[in-house]
């Protein structure tokens, strides 16, 4: 009898969970995001940014008179989870549009889903260049994020300004690491043919012990190291590299938003100062009225003191979408695609344009050396500059 | 001669369990091995049936050297056995237990797509009847009463249609009445089918009532062998079992 009772209660709990979700006439947007595991630190603010845009739009009466509903789902770290979650949302929740994904492989996976399901997909974070290149490019995929090419190339532009000749690279052994490094090296060699790549280290994704790699890199005696380690991977690397005198011995250029506030605060005292790194956004720059306004809104929405540099990713992607719907005057997929192509919007970093030819926003990044400043309790990128992507895209 | 054991030896981690045991058993004989705990009876059984490898010696069954054969091959040559502890297929029914052994014996174990249900019904039933389990045909064997499980164990051993049976304490743990019944049953089956029997047993009344020949094992060595009366009066055996008795 007791067993029966337990069973009934379990069933009731389950049923309580599965009360049907009501969705009348709303424009439903699915937002699968990396919300559990190591990348969640970026996925979460990105989702918050998307929610903020939705709130702003809905408060202003919605789009085409319809409210927007945002369904945020956890898709962990893996592309297969992203695929599954996206399909579930498409088929079960009847989403009209798909935005989301964090890792490169998730971007590619979601792009593939959008192609098969014939639904518009905007990638807010995934950067892998080949997503928007032949043969993988198709009409349903868009990217508001910067791409691995612009990221690698802008790093090359900066690296070329230093007198470094011997360069080593370190990156996680998977598609993001390969594609950014693959963009960095030829671009740098293009600008500065005398550069020599002395070593390439490929620790596995999620490596917890970088020390063997650190020693090997040092043994190759580079002038500088280019890294594509991101998030916790970078922090772990930095913590372990520091005591080898790593950052004193070699210059360090880090892609992968090692300079974003989340990473810098995550690293705490162990953040190496002086390394050149990038971020999607910085809350202190540019110090203009519209940017201050944006930062203020994010702070208020997320209830924090310092706006996350990742909120913009979700925000911008959703803004592209809503503006396109507005422009198209309908939610019809083909028309929204047409509207997205060439669309220019105002967003967290100013104006961005979605190129018609490869469906990518011409988006740059903030770069600068990590520096301690008196104004904030953590280091920031200073002097920081926005490297636009216009010349780096093709 | 159906079974010939030559100079069998086995030790575990330096402990000598069997120290050079040799004996022969004629076809149709009813033999038993007795001896105190740890004398090596079960070890001898396990070596003969291929469960354990031997350090030294040779076992010939029905004219064939089986010293190095794996257990399943020895079984297929016609040497069936039962175990001291209950060793049945506890999630299967009584019928299925025996049927599994029958169909293996009949070489059907590797057929993948014929339905097992109707196979060898009669033959299995026959064995069920002969071990007195026909009333429990469809009972799951795990929860069955102990005595029945022991009978089932015997049934499984018989189902391979062996030429010779090795029974390791077939009545261990049974009450007096059960023991008597079981022993009579074994005797009957063995004589009817003309099998050769070798068994170990603690209950001396059983041993002496059924055996034609008794072998006594002590500390891994065979110290006596012969018909019951001879063994009963053997000095060495007396000594092992009751010491120099004060009651005469």
């Amino acid at each position: 009898m007791r067993k029966l009772l337990v069973f009934v209660i379990t069933c009731m709990v389950i049923m309580a969970f599965s009360l049907p979700a009501m969705g009348a006439k709303k424009i439903v947007v699915g937002f699968p995001m990396y919300l559990s595991g190591g990348g969640a630190v970026f996925g979460k603010p990105s989702a918050e940014g998307a929610k903020m845009l939705v709130k702003e739009v809905n408060d202003a009466g919605g789009v085409l008179g319809r409210k927007i509903e945002l369904l945020v789902r956890d898709c962990k770290s893996s592309p297969d989870e992203a695929t599954r979650v996206a399909k579930e949302m498409i088929l079960k929740d009847n989403i009209d549009f798909l935005v989301g994904g964090l890792t490169s492989s998730q971007g590619l996976a979601l792009s593939d889903v959008s192609k098969h399901e014939k639904i518009v997909y905007i990638a807010p974070i995934p950067k892998v260049a080949k997503m928007c290149e032949k043969p993988r490019l198709h009409s349903y995929v868009f990217r508001s994020a910067c791409n691995s090419k612009t990221e690698g190339r802008s790093a090359a532009v900066l690296a070329a300004k230093h007198p470094w000749k011997r360069i080593a690279t370190v990156g996680p052994d998977y598609s993001y690491g390969w594609s950014v490094t693959g963009a960095f090296i030829p671009w740098l060699k293009n600008i500065k043919p005398e550069v020599e790549i002395v070593h390439q280290a490929w620790p596995k994704l999620g490596e917890s012990d970088y020390t063997p790699f650190i020693s090997v890199i040092l043994a190759s005696k580079p002038d500088a190291v280019f890294s594509t380690l991101w998030g916790g991977h970078f922090i772990t690397f930095a913590k372990q590299a520091r005591d080898y005198g790593f950052f004193e011995k070699v210059g360090f250029v880090s892609a992968g938003e090692a300079g974003c506030m989340e990473a810098i605060r995550g690293a705490g005292d162990d953040m190496p100062l002086g390394i050149i790194s990038n971020a999607y956004d910085t809350f202190w720059h540019p110090d203009t009225a519209w940017h201050r306004d944006w930062v203020g809104r994010v702070n208020k929405f997320m209830g924090t003191k310092y706006a996350s540099s990742w909120a913009g990713t979700g925000y911008d992607a959703m803004k592209f979408l809503t503006e396109a719907i507005k422009k198209a005057g309908t939610t019809d997929t083909d028309k929204v695609i047409k509207a997205l192509e060439g669309l220019t919007i105002d967003c967290s970093v100013g104006k961005l344009t979605m190129r018609a030819k490869d469906h990518q926003a011409v988006r740059g990044m903030y770069w600068g050396p990590v520096t301690k400043v008196p104004e904030y309790p953590f280091p920031i990128l200073k002097p920081v500059r926005y490297i636009p992507a216009d010349e780096l895209m093709d | 001669m159906i079974l010939q054991v030559d100079n069998l030896a086995k030790s575990f981690d330096g402990f000598i369990a069997v120290a050079g045991v040799s004996f022969q058993i004629e076809k149709g004989e009813l033999c038993s091995i007795i001896g105190p705990n740890g004398a090596g009876k079960t070890t001898v059984f396990n070596i003969i049936t291929g469960h354990l490898s031997m350090d030294k010696g040779r076992v010939v069954f029905n004219g064939m050297d089986i010293s190095r054969l794996p257990a399943h091959k020895i079984c297929r040559l016609g040497l069936g056995r039962s175990f001291q502890r209950i060793n049945i297929f506890s999630r299967l029914t009584v019928f299925e237990n025996i049927q599994a052994a029958v169909l293996t014996h009949r070489g059907k174990s590797l057929s993948f797509f014929t339905s097992v249900q109707p196979l060898f019904q009669e033959e299995t039933e026959e064995i069920l009847v002969s071990v007195g389990l026909q009333d429990h045909r469809d009972a799951v064997s795990g929860p069955l009463a102990y005595g029945f499980q022991k009978q089932l164990e015997l049934g499984i051993a018989l189902a391979s249609n062996p030429k010779m049976l090795l029974l390791d304490e077939p009545t261990a743990g049974m009450s007096r009445q059960e023991t008597k019944g079981t022993i009579e049953l074994i005797g009957k089956i063995v004589r009817e089918k003309g099998l050769t029997l070798l068994f170990t047993e603690h209950d001396m009344s059983v041993v002496f009532s059924i055996s034609e020949r008794i072998m006594v094992l002590h500390q891994g060595q065979l110290i006596a062998s012969g018909p019951p009366d001879e063994v009963r009066t053997n000095q060495d055996v007396q000594k092992i079992y009751i010491g120099e008795s004060r009651c005469s």
């Binding site: 297969d80 593939d112 | 999630r91 590797l110 339905s115």
Partner: protein, 308 residues
């Protein structure tokens, strides 16, 4: 025909009617359930019928995925040929791996299957030029004759039904009976004249074959495949499906797959704490419903019958 078979046919017909409702979602969900149900059933041939705890079954599912995907995308074979070959890749891998694994017992068996599956995963992950590394193989399209989700559902239903039929035939065959004797008591089985290791290996191969079939079905259903399908949490998940449904009943794993996938789909709509809920379900299961869902229901029926 027995009553049980009539019920099964009724269920089959009902499932066949699902697309008529017009719900894309149920067609999708059901296809998913059928595929993972077959995967769980094939695992259960080892677990529930042979008594071997494989903790690395994701390997054969993954091999199925990649065999099918690679044969279509890289070798340019037609779907029919690629899919037909898929099972044999799984069986071949199971033959090689199983050959070593069946020598071990219990926890060592589980650990060795785990270790092998991790090797398969690492190879798939690292062999970028062939497998596409972490980004996997994408754009595996439905074949021409199955160019819609509904058609693919019917195809899946057919393949899974046939596989289930075969598996059911096998567990009800003399061979299946011997597997059960091995599960209950490998030692005794040896002494009714069975080469236990050989039978365990055969079960391993059959299980690998059908796991790979389910993987092949999944590759096309999902259109893209990733190394994570060979990763150990997938092995754990399919084990949970099997236990949840009940490993001692033939259809238990299928029921487990259905319940787990349905629950996951519902729960993840409301919370990101799905692992917590899954863990709690598992703990409740272990302490209160050791026979799984089907085992529990069977017990209730038995009790109800005996009380009548």
């Amino acid at each position: 025909m027995s009553r049980q078979n009539w019920i099964l046919i009724a269920i089959l017909v009902l499932m066949g009617l699902i697309p008529v409702t017009g719900s894309r979602y149920y067609v999708f969900l059901l296809t998913d359930i059928l595929i993972f149900g077959l995967f769980a059933l094939s695992l259960n041939l080892l677990l529930g019928y042979t008594g071997l705890v494989s903790f690395g079954h994701a390997a054969y599912f993954g091999i199925g995925c990649y065999a099918c995907g690679l044969l279509i995308k890289k070798a340019g074979l037609s779907f029919g040929i690629a899919f037909a070959a898929t099972g044999f890749f799984g069986a071949a891998a199971a033959l090689i791996i199983g050959f070593f694994c069946v020598r071990l017992t219990r926890i060592y068996f589980a650990l060795l299957t785990l270790a092998f599956s991790q090797i398969v995963w690492a190879i798939v992950f690292k062999w970028n030029s062939l497998t596409g590394g972490d980004t996997g193989i994408y754009d595996i399209n439905f074949p021409k004759f199955l160019d819609s989700r509904t058609k693919y559902f019917y195809f899946t239903l057919a393949v899974v039904s046939i596989s289930v039929l075969i598996l059911r035939k096998i567990v009800n065959s003399p061979f299946g009976r011997i597997l059960m004797t091995i599960r209950d008591n490998p030692e005794r089985t040896e002494f009714i004249g069975i080469n236990v290791k050989l039978f365990q290996l055969l079960a391993f191969i059959i299980s690998g074959f059908f796991s790979a079939i389910s993987g092949g079905l999944f590759a096309v259903f999902n259109h893209s495949i990733f190394p994570d399908f060979c990763y150990w949490p997938v092995s754990a998940e399919v084990l949970i499906m099997t236990i949840l449904g009940g490993m001692y009943s033939f259809f238990g794993p299928l029921v487990g797959a259905a319940v787990l996938l349905y629950l996951r789909m519902e729960v993840t709509s409301y919370t990101v704490y799905w692992p917590f809920i899954l863990g709690t379900i598992l703990i409740l299961l272990l302490f209160f419903f050791p026979g799984g869902i089907v085992g529990f229901i069977e017990n209730q029926i038995k009790r109800w019958r005996s009380s009548k």
